[in-house]
Symmetry: C2
Subunit: 139 residues, 2 copies
């Protein structure tokens, strides 16, 4: 349960992180983003990258994915889905769900042999909807 605060000023660190992530179609980790942004801002710190990626995700500018051991970030915040390879961990986009999705009878998608599917709804539980909370358990 951490309190992610809204940005109140602009910084070229945050802007660069956002710009660089938006250029990518991959789903980099924080460390991968750090390496990319350092080409523009050689003195940026890894902590700054983590803090801003969280901020941007909490604000809906980007999306945080929790697939592997480390989180991955997606500059494409419009609605789409993902496949992850169970062996190498590679993550690819799936733009549209199969029409028979509810029946769960797909065996191939985006070239992948599909072996499973996880759906995670994110929402506000009845108890929390009464309180007015700024905190977030997890982005």
């Amino acid at each position: 349960m951490k309190n992610i605060k809204r940005p109140q000023r602009r910084s070229k660190q945050r802007q660069t992180i956002l710009d660089e992530l938006k250029k990518l179609t991959t789903h980099p980790t924080a460390v991968e983003m750090y390496e990319i942004v350092r080409e523009t801002l050689p003195n940026i710190s890894l902590g700054t990258v983590y803090r801003n990626l969280e901020m941007l995700a909490a604000n809906g500018n980007i999306v945080k994915l929790k697939f592997g051991t480390s989180a991955r970030f997606d500059g494409n915040s419009s609605r789409h889905y993902h496949v992850r390879c169970i062996h190498c961990g590679e993550v690819n986009d799936i733009d549209e769900l199969p029409e028979d999705f509810v029946k769960q009878d797909f065996d191939k998608l985006g070239g992948y042999k599909i072996v499973g599917c996880k759906v995670e709804f994110v929402g506000i539980c009845p108890t929390c909807s009464e309180k007015n909370i700024n905190e977030v358990s997890q982005v």
Copy 2:
């Protein structure tokens, strides 16, 4: 990328972990499972709980969920889905998807006000499907 090995012998530690998890409708963390199993086996170690939960998940006996900061485990391995509260982190089951799921126009599910939905397909990428691999990037 870790190599999760198949169990070759039975142990009452692993059996107890599985039995106790199957009794629950909640989605406990490894530490929560540790505390539960210790009531039956007071000398079990936390490492054993982690190792066996991974094994059981890799074998499809249970399901590993990666929502919050720590992984959660689900003794119900039959097809169903989850809602997570963005504020308190509570996880609940959603047994059936709404029929209009593909259109993504739901605003309430299981009492939760829905603000998002993530779909993660798990599969084998074209490159890995050629090789014959035992390793797994992530359960």
